[in-house]
């Protein structure tokens, strides 16, 4: 596999694509995983993502600090998540319906407040060049890594450990699997879910910040093409496990790079099919994984999908 060959180019494009494109999926999926482990589905994360993207861009432009933008995006997302949790605490409220309403609400206010920020260019997040060892420009480009990507990967491992080994993880899992048991142990189900949905919203907001401040790195109203919704699907396909969420996000990002990469080396026939690759891939993996008995066992017991 000598550098420069067509195969090498596509491979590097896929690795680069996984690193560049997967981060929003990774953050939204991890956040949704935590929310769902507490027994609630928040479908509003698409709206949270867009709101996060807008508030990050606006903050970065106004203050000149992209990292402050990331923080504000997270806080805005957290607000959206906690709003979801608060509404869902009211009697006879369906969490899926509230999620859809908040999705529209989030994109709506993001578009409303985002108008003045479409034109200006805000400072972007820096990247860490990890490909300095190679003199191949493609390797160098593919390995320009954003700190958020590294934080996301570390977070996946941390959450996997924390869910298993900490008291907070245990409380979260109990709440998600059996409300009755959680109450018997003296935990407030509502409070746990408020925290879990708020945390999920925070991560989704940060995912949005990545979109507007790093890749593709500008704010406009067509910025998210359904990344938030796809990430929710990824959680189900990853069967509510942080490490599998991470792998699913990476796979999805890599598959998304196939279409443009193949066209760039001259395989130009059927680009519609290759552009659909991530979705086709997810569909097959979901059919493969969700049909098994294991999938049922992994699903949180209180989730309205499974109840």
């Amino acid at each position: 596999m000598e550098p420069g060959s067509a195969f090498f180019m596509v491979l590097m494009a896929m690795i680069g694509g996984a690193i560049r494109v997967s981060t929003p999926f990774l953050f939204v999926a991890l956040g949704e995983m935590i929310t769902e482990r507490a027994g609630r589905i928040n479908l509003g994360l698409e709206g949270t993502l867009v709101l996060g993207a807008m508030s990050a861009y606006a903050t970065s432009y106004q203050t000149g600090s992209p990292w402050l933008g990331v923080l504000v995006a997270g806080l805005a997302g957290m607000g959206m998540g906690m709003l979801h949790a608060t509404i869902c605490r009211l009697p006879k409220v369906n969490d899926i319906a509230v999620g859809i309403a908040l999705m529209l609400f989030g994109t709506g206010i993001a578009f409303f407040f985002g108008k003045p920020y479409i034109q200006p260019s805000a400072p972007r997040l820096p990247s860490i060049p990890l490909g300095g060892w190679s003199d191949n420009p493609q390797v160098v480009e593919a390995l320009k890594i954003n700190p958020l990507f590294i934080i996301g990967i570390a977070l996946a491992f941390f959450l996997a450990w924390a869910l298993k080994n900490t008291r907070a993880g245990l409380i979260l899992r109990v709440t998600g699997d059996s409300e009755v048991a959680a109450r018997a142990l003296g935990h407030s189900v509502g409070l746990v879910r408020l925290a879990a949905t708020g945390f999920g919203g925070f991560l989704a907001g940060v995912g949005g910040a990545f979109l507007s401040l790093y890749y593709p790195g500008s704010w406009n109203e067509g910025l998210s093409s359904g990344q938030g919704l796809m990430a929710v699907a990824l959680v189900i396909f990853a069967r509510w496990h942080p490490i599998r969420c991470m792998l699913a996000a990476l796979l999805f990002g890599a598959a998304g790079a196939i279409g443009p990469a193949l066209q760039s080396i001259g395989i130009t026939q059927g680009y519609y099919f290759f552009n659909a690759a991530p979705y086709i891939l997810t569909l097959f993996l979901m059919i493969g994984s969700a049909g098994s008995k294991k999938a049922l066992r992994d699903a949180p017991g209180e989730l309205s999908l499974t109840r």
């Binding site: 260019s121 480009e141 790195g217 406009n220 109203e221 760039s264």
Partner: protein, 370 residues
């Protein structure tokens, strides 16, 4: 749902009639017939650095004209929603000229509204209207942007060192294909070794995929990048970040690429909009079809950026002078990139209708329509 909409629409109509009667009933004479109210509908935000901004900037030039009132609506999808927008502009705001700026607005939505309101003038920004087939109060206007893309190509042909020009395209429809081919023909007119490599994203606004496509083209060795998508912001910014040169599309993107911007293909809609407003103000009929290129001042190239060296500037200016004089840019016979002869004549007029339905990628373009 249908029932709701019907009842709401009739309610709106009723209210509109009432308001109109109440406010214009007695001092009706004050509303002179020479006043022009122009309703303009955009498919996206009007500050998108692209198609919609090009229209919005031009319509802005009319705002100062006395007697002209402008109503704008953004983000109107190409669905029944646009028919409702147009009807409310007509009924509630008294618009007498409607400008529908997106391709998919025409059929059936604008055609239906034109049939319903025969006293209102409606114009659509694409060459779709046909006499006899569509209502007489409807019509089309468009600029031949391919001429400005040809100039882009001339500048790019002298700017590229790798002889590879990258093109991020949305969909393989005739206007997009013509712009791609024009960049190639422009580049080849000054640099016979130039090629254009195209990546189709599949839709008009997919920022993440546009960024991926731009990166893939740069990875394949392209050192000048251009595009035909709704908002070129992402492509131009990606090119600038990766340190290569770029060519704009639709509106001016010069401010996005202070180092690498060469020039850009822009519409000059205000020429057309002024023709419309003048005709209405004088009480003359508005022409059904208005079109033109450099010869009629309906397209232009963005002022040269730092990426354009002296040779590129000189050649591009010469090309513009030729286009203004209506010199044919296309010398045949033309082959597509599969080797078939698609345009057999030795020369084609720049406005030859045969070229309107362009459905091939010319020899020298790397890429495929399917």
């Amino acid at each position: 749902m249908t029932f709701d909409l019907l009842s709401r629409r009739s309610l709106l109509k009723g209210t509109a009639a009432g308001v109109a009667a109440a406010s214009f009933g007695f001092p009706g004479a004050l509303r002179a017939a020479t006043n022009v109210t122009i309703g303009i509908v955009y498919v996206g935000p009007k500050d998108d650095f692209g198609w919609n901004q090009a229209h919005a900037v031009s319509i802005g030039a009319l705002k100062a004209t006395p007697g002209v009132k402008i109503i704008e609506e953004e983000n109107v999808p190409e669905t029944a929603a646009v028919a409702k927008s147009m009807e409310s502009m007509i009924n509630l705001e008294g618009a007498n000229l409607i400008l529908a700026t997106s391709f998919g607005y025409f059929n059936p939505f604008m055609v239906d509204v034109a049939k319903k309101y025969s006293k209102v003038t409606l114009r659509h920004a694409a060459p779709l209207w046909e006499k006899g087939k569509h209502p007489d109060n409807a019509g089309s206007y468009f600029g031949y942007l391919d001429q400005a893309h040809f100039v882009n190509g001339v500048a790019a042909g002298l700017s590229t060192k790798s002889n590879k020009i990258g093109f991020v395209a949305a969909k393989p429809i005739s206007s997009v294909l013509r712009n791609i081919n024009s960049v190639l023909w422009g580049a080849r007119s000054v640099n016979p070794n130039a090629t254009v490599q195209v990546i189709f994203t599949g839709d008009w606004a997919l920022p993440v995929r546009e960024a991926e496509a731009a990166n893939a083209l740069i990875g394949a060795g392209c050192d000048v990048l251009t595009c035909h998508v709704d908002s070129p912001k992402v492509v131009i910014e990606t090119a600038e970040r990766r340190g290569i040169k770029s060519l704009g599309h639709n509106a001016s993107q010069a401010s996005l690429a202070p180092k690498g911007f060469i020039t850009g293909a822009e519409y000059k809609w205000e020429t057309i909009y002024k023709i419309f407003a003048d005709a209405i103000a004088k009480g003359q009929p508005v022409p059904n079809v208005v079109f033109g290129g450099y010869d009629k001042d309906m397209v232009r190239n963005t002022a040269f950026g730092a990426g354009a060296d002296a040779a590129a500037r000189k050649a591009a200016e010469a090309a513009i002078a030729d286009l203004k004089a209506n010199k044919p840019i296309l010398k045949g016979p033309v082959k597509d990139n599969k080797g078939n002869v698609v345009l057999p004549n030795a020369s084609y007029d720049n406005f030859d209708r045969v070229l309107d339905g362009m459905n091939f990628l010319a020899d020298g373009v790397v890429g495929s329509i399917t």
